[in-house]
Each structure stands twice: as structure tokens, then as C-alpha cells.
Point group: C3
Chain length 261, copies 3
């Protein structure tokens, strides 16, 4: 059984995701589809890239990761199909795959151009239904990658912002806020411990200070801010049993500073 994961900015107000699934089922009734996320902010390539990077490896080997956050739909932007040792990735060539793929060995890249595998006609606005879905479905049937178009040698790059060390501070930012209002920084565990080593440290954010890493969200006192290594493996700012996002009126891209004594 082939697995296809879906990561889009389609939301759930409309029939968009339903039609992608319908088109896939019509071509390969046995494909198993897993919704990774459809609530990427419209056109937020960086957000999708972040979620994909932290998600793809949890899926069964040979999963086809279909990513449709595609501000350039209808334009001449390419559709790319990439194979690594364990996974396939199908997405617009807008940088969205770069954070996931930059440290992996890429076995093959195809620019998808063969309209034999598209619906006919292809609309100007819904390549997800008319091009991405049927290509993913045919790929899941075992059709060879070369049939979909021509080989390419590289994909578009786009880097997520990295924390910087400036003098004696580690400067990061909020990359993502989750449903619970946890504020996920771009500071991963390694970077954090390479900086803090055995020193004591202070995490400065939004006028508040946190001086330890917690291991759960339970509160002892009212309005306790915590720093915790969350499910993305990065430092998160959390409000114990509440929403740090609401409590601090915090936003994506806000700066987090770490100092050590």
C-alpha cells in the first residue's frame, strides 16, 4: 500500500482537499492518504517548509510527500518531483523543500512537465487538483519518475532563519506558534547546549526572563512561563496550562535572547 501525505494551505472551508483526494482515489483506489496539515497560512512557504522538515521522517518509507503551497500557481514556476533514499517529494519549485532536503542525499530530481499525467484541462488556479494529485497518484502506482518529465540537477533554495551568536548572546526568533499557544523558537537543542554548556543561562523574551528548562506544562503558580524542548526539538516558550501566545501577545519573528552567566 502506497502512502501519500498532504501538506497544503487549502484550509478546510472549501472542497479543495476533498477534490485532491477524489482525483487520487480515481487513479489509485488503494493509495492511503494522510493529512499532514492543511492550515498553513495562505502562501506561507516558510511555515510549510518548517513543518515538513520536522515531519517527513515519521512517515512510512516510500511515502510520497505532496506539498501544495503554491503562490505561483498558473505562472511558469516548475513542479518538481524529488527522490531520496526513503521518500518522494512532489512540490512547486519555490524553495519549500530545501530545509528538508539540504542535508539529505538526493537521488533524482524531475521537472514534472508531462501533461499526459495531468487532468485535462488544467485550470489556472488549482494545480493541486489538476496536476499534483494525478501525478502523485500515478507515482503511487509505480510509474517511473522519468515518465513525468526531465531530469534536473538542483532545486530552489530557501533557508529558514538560524539563530546567531552575537558577542555573548545567542539571538533567535519565534519561528512558529502552535495551536496551544506555545512559541517555538529556531533554537534547537544542540545549538542551545553548545552555547550554554555548563553555565547557568537566562532566556529573555518579551520583557520576561526564564532561567531553566522545564519538562512539562504543569503549573505551580499562576502565569508561569516555561522554556521546554517541544515536539519540534527546539526551545519553546510556553505558559504553564495556558497560551503563551495570548499571555504575551507574542508573534512570529519576535526575538528571543539567551545569555549565560
Amino acid at each position: 500500500m502506497s502512502t501519500i501525505s498532504l501538506l497544503t494551505d487549502f484550509g478546510d472551508k472549501d472542497n479543495f482537499t476533498g477534490l485532491v483526494k477524489a482525483v487520487i482515489a480515481k487513479i489509485n483506489a488503494c493509495a492511503k492518504i494522510i493529512d499532514l496539515c492543511h492550515k498553513i497560512q495562505p502562501q506561507a512557504i516558510d511555515q510549510a517548509a518548517f513543518l515538513l522538515k520536522h515531519s517527513f521522517a515519521y512517515f512510512p518509507k516510500k511515502t510520497i510527500h505532496l506539498v501544495v503551497v503554491d503562490p505561483g500557481v498558473g505562472s511558469k514556476r516548475k513542479i518538481i518531483l524529488v527522490k531520496t533514499k526513503d521518500y518522494f517529494f512532489l512540490a512547486p519549485d519555490n524553495g519549500i523543500l530545501w530545509p528538508t532536503l539540504k542535508k539529505q542525499k538526493i537521488e533524482k530530481i524531475i521537472a514534472v512537465t508531462n501533461s499526459d499525467f495531468f487532468l485535462n484541462p488544467v485550470s489556472d488556479t488549482f494545480a493541486g487538483r489538476d496536476a499534483f494529485a494525478p501525478v502523485a497518484a500515478h507515482l503511487s502506482l509505480g510509474i517511473e519518475m522519468q515518465k513525468f518529465g526531465k531530469k534536473m540537477s538542483k532545486i530552489k533554495k530557501m533557508n529558514l532563519p538560524r539563530p546567531r551568536k552575537i558577542e555573548e548572546e545567542l539571538i533567535g526568533k519565534i519561528l512558529y506558534t502552535d495551536h496551544f499557544g506555545n512559541l517555538i523558537t529556531n533554537i534547537d537543542k544542540n545549538t542551545f547546549f553548545n552555547f550554554t554548556k555548563n553555565y547557568s543561562f537566562k532566556i529573555h523574551f518579551s520583557g520576561k526572563m526564564i532561567d531553566k528548562i522545564s519538562h512539562n506544562y504543569l503549573k505551580k503558580n499562576k502565569n508561569t512561563l516555561k522554556a521546554i524542548f517541544g515536539s519540534f526539538g527546539n526551545v519553546e516558550i510556553a505558559l504553564a496550562e495556558g497560551s503563551a501566545e495570548k499571555f504575551l501577545s507574542a508573534k512570529k519573528d519576535a526575538v528571543v535572547r539567551i545569555t549565560r552567566r
Copy 2:
């Protein structure tokens, strides 16, 4: 493998859709369920009819389209099961199927009354779980349509608003707004080109004017409004890389006028 599509106004706050799927799985563990949309506005029959009309044909043949937008639940409104050459449709007889079926050859209509196929008891408020789901599941097992009730000869009609030509103007309206804030009119491609022919044209909406058809959403300048044939095949008013709905504070039913020179 049988496919059942679900189109409802259940939202996703509750256990409603989950229970429909549970009931189906209990009767036919092999039925494949595809969520078409659950975010129809409560009781918005016209909106569901619009989405169904533009969606049903993308599904595998023999799909059972289960549509539960049912303001009359608990009353004497009929439940109907309709077969066309390629699909089954199961819905309340409130007009919701009419825009989809009016141009198709209907092979059979059944008024679903046989409570042997319902859960027992049937609640007053949740026919989706207690009647529609088990009927769809039994149908997906191959039970003959006649077993579910008696033949009928026609279904309730309900037409979606059509554009009108008044003197030298084509007058349409916004039928639907999507997740991206695109404003979908009721003016389809044929109607548009039959009216504009080889003339130049102007699309008037909300105090703005657009004089060409675009093929993508990319912006050249700030706040560029575009007209585009969207995924429904109709003229859409879009804001390049933004939400026309928010930019124009536009609403369903707002008037769109097209003039030609």
C-alpha cells in the same frame, strides 16, 4: 472498494462526522470515505449544492455522494437516494441535489423509508448518524436500491442564481467566497465569452474596475485586483497574493456587472 463522499454542515467542533464514519465502518469495514467538505454554513443548502455540482465528477465511478445539510431533520422531509449512470446520491429532498442533477440522466429515485436499515432508535436531530450513514453503508455493500424504499419520479428543485443580460450589461453576483478570499461569481466561462465575444470588456465590482482576465495570482503592484477563471470554472475576483474578500469587505450576493465597449 466502495467510495462514499461526505458533504455536510457539521463543522469539526463535535463528534458528528466521526460518528457517521464509525457507523459506516461498523457496517462496511471496507468502505473508503472521502471528506468533500464539512464547513458548509449551517443549513446553507445553496452553498452545498454549489460545491457538489462542481465536485462530484472528480470522484471514482460508483461513488456514493452522501450530502447532509438538513434543516428539516426530524420533520417529514424525505430522504432520497438517486442513481445516475456513474454515481449515487443520498440526501434530504430539499433541493440540494437539483443543480447537480438537472442536466444528468437520472436512472432511479428512491424515497428511503425502510427503517430496517436505520439505527434503532432514530434520534430526532441526527439523521446523519442514524439514517443516512447506515443507508450509505448498506448501499456500499451492494444492496439493491429498491430495498431502501419506494420509487419516486421526481426530486425537489432549487436553482442557483444565474447571471442575467440586461440591455448591454451582464449582471452576476458573488455565489461563494473561498478560504483564500477569492470571490467566485456565478458567471461561467461560456456565459462570459458569449457576452464579451471579441469586444473589450470591463468588470465592475465594489467600485473597482478590471479589464482583463489574468492567469495567475502573482502581483506586479500593490493591491492589484484580478479577474481569473478559478477552479470552479467561473469568473473570480481575486486580490493578487491577498484576500479580495478582506480588501473589498465583499460578501456573498454582491453584484458584479460586466460591460463591453
Copy 3:
């Protein structure tokens, strides 16, 4: 085919539910997953307990009900696996299963501790992905319950509020509000009729009075409030063809009084 139901407070903004499904699919590609609900308010154990109690029995026998509303994630709270005659339940031991299980015969309770069945490492914040999902998946493969940990004799209790009879009044409260704005009380059909018997009755709520039970939501007049036995089997306060929640600005825990003449 094994069925796993998912009931969580994950929302749908993130990749959380997608990753739970990915982890399950990687271990058991044939497990069938049904989303019961993911929009439980963050950490609202009582709300999840209410939905589970009114949902579990609609699922196929042998379904594994996976419930992850887990304010104590990362702390020493137990993960429990419970078997009844017809179902399995996997959840944190925080009382969430009690309303469902208190009237059922429990065949076995296991405290899940065997990390051989967890992902490695287990994060502090996402036991749903790292512990619950792989345990549910392995269980769906037929692994014996004892392999996951040690037997326990009882689970944590948590009761949902019951209506009380005080002098000649039955005093209940709003337990839950649904997507349509229906206000679901904690007064079930039996309790209602045991109190009202053959008397006439009045339902008092939010300064309004209702003196009969309706069987549908259709309106005769504007702003008609109705009492109806809804899909949970309890008395609901509904606004005919509208939202009682909005009309009355009503909230969870608001008091409902029933008097008889």
C-alpha cells in the same frame, strides 16, 4: 482490519494529528483510523470524557479508542490501556475514561510502561506521537496487553456533573455547546421523564421559558426557543433554525431549571 479512533485537543493548525497517523501507519499500514474529534478545548478533560461516553459504542467492535487530552504530558501521570468486552481504551490516567467505563465491566487495565513500544527518544511534550500512537499501532497488530506494562486494578475517577432534584425543581446545567449553537444539558431522557412524569413542565433558562419538547428545529415564528432530545440523548436548548448559544449569549455551566405544575 483494526480500527483506531482518535479523540484529542490537538486542533488542526499543526502537524500533530498527521504525525500520530504517520507513526501508526509506519507500524501497521492496515490500521484504519477514524477521527472522532480533535477540537476538544485545550486540556478540557471533561469535554473529551463527555464526547467519548456518547460516541464509543457506535464504533466497530475491537476498536482501539485513543484519547489524548493530556495536561500532564511529561509528568509522572500514567498511561493506561483498558479492555472491556467490546473495546480497547488508551489514554492518560487523568479521569477521562471514567464516565465511559464506570458502568461497564472492565476486563483488564494495564499501566503502559514498556518503552520498547515507544519511539526513541520520547519527547517531553508529545506523548501522542512518541508513546500513545506506537502503542495503539502495536496493539492493533494483535500484541498482547500484558506486553505493554503491568496490571493495575483501578483507574482514576472523574464524574461529570449530574442534575440534582432540589425540593420541587430539577436543576441541571449546560455541559456542552455544539457547532450549531445547541446547548446540551446534563439532563438525560430518563431523568427528565422520571421528574416530569405526567405533569406539565416548564424549562427555565436564561430568563426564558419553554413548556414542551420539540422534535425538529424548524421554526414557525422568529426567535423560537425549543427544547429537544438531541443526538446525545439529553435535553438540548435550541433556537429554531439558528444558534441558541449566540441568541442567548449562553455558556457552558449555565444553570437550567425544570419545574412541574
